[in-house]
């Protein structure tokens, strides 16, 4: 499944930005980047820039505002990828 592949890819992108006390296995679709995964806002920008490169998409300020959880990120990636592939 494409979505599962994207999810694993996203986890790989997030992994280097996780603090030491949080492992990649702690990531679930509902995880809140800032409140649960303890990623700061500066690193969240780095994650977005890495997502843009990996999925060849561009995020706008509104997307960034909406991107609170892993699920939010997946929704944005799926939406942008599918409009790109049409």
């Amino acid at each position: 499944m494409k979505e599962e592949k994207y999810y694993q890819q996203l986890k790989g992108i997030v992994k280097p930005y996780l603090p030491e006390d949080i492992s990649v296995d702690d990531i679930s679709p509902d995880s809140h980047f800032i409140n649960e995964l303890n990623i700061n806002s500066a690193n969240l920008v780095d994650i977005v820039l890495d997502v843009e490169d990996a999925f060849e998409i561009t995020l706008e300020n509104d997307d960034m505002d909406e991107m609170q959880t892993v699920n939010d990120a997946m929704a944005i990636i799926n939406k942008k990828r599918s409009s790109k592939e049409q």
Binding site: S41, A42, V45, V48, M64, D65
Partner: protein, 151 residues
């Protein structure tokens, strides 16, 4: 945005203001200078009987010129910009130091924008002394926004 307006917006005051003037600023970078007065407080303790400007202060000087001044300029260029509630946060630095800066020296900082996205500014910075020798260089990043915009 005019240079004097940018300086007015800086959220620092004497004893921790490390920007005197900017000679050039545009969307790609900034150049500015600072004179380290001999009466700055930290010279009393760094080091005992041998005042040298601490590396963290050189980094701070690079960040105030290279990130904060440039960040204010870049924010001011955005549509509907409002700089009344400016919030800045230093998020990362990787610096290397080559020469000491003694009390009474003037330094020049050049900063080149790497990116400014989603309120995060990342720059490559270099600091020179009056003999045009490289004092330190590195990469700095920070967040800058008008806090009235929310997050």
């Amino acid at each position: 945005m005019e240079i004097n307006k940018i300086l007015e917006k800086l959220p620092y005051s004497k004893q921790f203001l490390f920007v005197d003037s900017l000679s050039n600023i545009d969307e790609n970078g900034v150049t500015g200078s600072f004179h380290f007065c001999e009466d700055l407080e930290f010279y009393k303790g760094h080091f005992k009987q041998f005042p040298v400007t601490p590396g963290v202060i050189l980094t701070e000087c690079c960040a105030q010129i290279g990130l904060v001044c440039l960040g204010i300029f870049l924010l001011s260029e955005e549509p509907d910009s409002n700089l009344d509630n400016l919030t800045v946060a230093f998020s990362g630095s990787e610096m290397e130091f080559y020469l000491p800066v003694y009390p009474g020296e003037t330094v020049f900082v050049h900063s080149e924008k790497d990116y400014f996205r989603f309120n995060k500014l990342k720059c490559k910075v270099k600091m020179y002394n009056t003999s045009k020798e490289l004092v330190c260089k590195g990469e700095l990043a920070g967040m800058i926004k008008n806090s009235a915009n929310g997050r």
